[in-house]
Amino acid sequence: MNPGADPTLEELLATCASEPIHIPEAVQAHGALLAVTAAGTIAVASANVADWFGAAGVLLCPVTEVLGAEPPPIGGRIRLEGRRGPVEVHNLGPAAAGEHELVVLGLEQATAAPPEVDVLAPALTALGADDDVIALLDRAAVAIRGLLGFDRVMAYRFDREWNGEVVAEAVDPTLEPFLGLRYPASDIPPQARALYARTPVRTIPDAGGPTAPLLHASPTTVPLDLSDAEVRAVSPVHLHYLRNMGVRASMSLSIVVEGELWGLFACHHVSDAHRPDPAWRRAAAALVGVASSRLEVLLRAEQAEQRAGSVEPVAAVRARAERGEHPAAEVASLPELLSMWRACGVTVRLDGEVASAGVGAGDELAALVAGRMLADPTTVVAASDQRAELDALGAAHPVLAGALAVRVGDDDWVVWWRPELVREVRWGGDPEGKEIESRADGSLALGPRQSFAAYVQHVTGRSREWDDHDVWLADQVRRHLGAALTGRGRARSAVASAVRRVLDDPTVPDVDLDVAVRTRAAAGDPAGGDWHDVVALPHGGTAVSIGDVAGHGLATAATMSHLRHALRAYLVADGDPALALGQLDELVRHLVPGEMATAVICVVAPDGSTVTVVSAGHLPPIRVGRSGASMVEAPREPAIGLRRSSPLRSTTFAVEPDDVIVLFTDGLVERRDEPLDVSLERFRAALDVAAGARPEELLTAVADPLVAVADDDATVVAFVPASAARR
């Protein structure tokens, strides 16, 4: 480190997190260590071994000679009589040492007879009696304290950010309880957590005690990896931390659930150095193992109960999405969609529709947040409980501080919102109170916290944390909504194809007319309210009709089909389009009052020389001839379904052989951002430019681009009246 520049706190934290605590090249002096070659020669020894066994030399000596016995097999333990009393030898197995592999033996002075199994049995049995996580941890803490005699035994639980919280405690009544205090994640840096997960028991019998350095037979040997050695020397930073905390001896037992470090039992002794015998510590470790298994069972049961409780609400969400015409609104209005997540608001986008409930950021901001949180296409669920993150996403909000987003389909999603939750957190000392200290070599390093007095912090700018269950639930909803939408899509397309079979009526007479058609239902609908028809009339003419029943969906399509067939019947009966539309109007007002349709009929004379037009509330036909495109001004009559008192009027005009008549529905031309007459004029102008084209080419050039972007039902028919004469 460059002493000329002051390192930042971040840099020091990084240095602390990268301290190589697994290769201290020393052991705590209550222990000793030997590393032995395959040939049984001692290659590495801690400096205290010679004293323990009264040997003159240790390095390069046969291990059996020094110990006076064969070492135990890998993983095994033996007790030997040393010069200073009994010694336990534990074979930790092979460790890499440069190009060689050495077998590492951990040695420790034993202090007492191994515990009888009877000592442990009642505690182990009792652990099975609790069906509450905290009660279980309480009982285990008491049992550990009873076995090992520490002043304080605490159960820590890590949160998602690895802050520890004391959730259970057995403590000498003369000491201040630490229950409920939190310790920041930086108190236990990541490499220390990794060692906790790997070696479940760590002991520091005397934070002020001596260490014994490792001596190597070969000066070129690399440092020995002591990850698995319980006797390895402790990081000076950690010893400093313990001293600041007033702790003389400590021991930790890892709580591992489903292979992950869930928490720790931390044992402290404040009055004096304290070293329970290794065999007793193993008994405690066994107890913690049983407690961890029991904990795993309880946590799973808790989770199963939580999950079971969500089955019905999730099914309700799915049912709403399957059934409703507007799935987003149906789903968003379900109260459980808020209560299950303890959310203050939710925004749902399904099938392209957005709906909200409760307090949320608004539809547009929700879309922004969902888009950004789920920007990575492989991300399915994303959560944030930090207001600053919402701000950064562009969704700053006075109330909200948390968002949980789940991807349902390509463009569909759900976002739950949570308000800011101001909390008081009791830390075991100011979590920011790290000390920067000067080292002997002039460099700066991060020191541990000086003060461990309880420190109350007001946490703002955050929502309640989204926990595993919230995320799991969101994923459930994702899968069920996805299935519901797929089901809707399938049902729709099945019904749609059935409807289309009905609508694409194969009984259209073989009329010899040069006609082209484009039609499309509104986005998301299987069929629409538009129709078109070509009918051969009894007197020899041909009727071309187009119409639009107001409304969307299958019911409207059914009404449309009904009307189209009725109109065809009226036209075939006597061939008068005005009469036919009048009869259709009566039919609608009597049989389906409240329905409305607009329609226009063009009847081409048998010789193809004239066209008679009747319009009921419909946009005017456009005639495209040599001289350009012009709207056909037919008398305006009310739409079908509105009241009328007089017969419909018609107009008849002469056509040229090349004239093309274009009939269309409003969905083809109407745009929300401009008045209808402007849209209409633009369409006419486009046809004007394309004048001279045959119907098919005309529609390809002018209508196809409009059909492609129409957001309502859109139909257009183009025909050459003169072509009817060839019939």
């Binding site: 509104a522 107001a550 409304g551 009310p638 739409a639 509105l642 009328r644």
Partner: protein
């Protein structure tokens, strides 16, 4: 798409006033179609489309539907976006279509000679 429609509701002794702002289209028409009078009162309903920015056949259908159960008057001055659609479909054949709220009723009572 979320309905971009707001309907202000007001009632007086003679009628219910529904003042439409925004797009009255297929998507938002149910909001109007599902309106029902808040209490026993006048059977006359005035739908003011002066502030309606877009009216399609779905919106016309909703108005027509209301006219089946209420005595309905539509307000829409010439030149407003909704007026073109109203005229195109000939809505005035079914119900009174007037150009200002004044013609629809309320102020007419104010003008009654004392």
């Amino acid at each position: 798409m979320a309905p971009r429609l707001h309907i202000d509701r007001a009632s007086d002794a003679t009628c219910h006033w529904l003042t439409v702002r925004g797009d009255l289209d297929h998507a938002s028409a149910p909001i109007l179609a599902e309106w029902s009078p808040p209490h026993e009162g006048p059977a006359t309903v005035v739908v003011d489309l002066t502030g309606c920015t877009f009216l399609d056949s779905g919106g016309i259908r909703a108005i027509l539907g209301l006219s089946l159960t209420h005595d309905l008057t539509v307000v829409c001055p010439p030149g407003r976006p909704a007026r073109l659609t109203i005229d195109l479909v000939g809505l005035s054949s079914s119900m009174p279509v007037v150009e200002s709220p004044a013609e629809a009723g309320r102020p007419r009572h104010d003008a009654t000679p004392r």
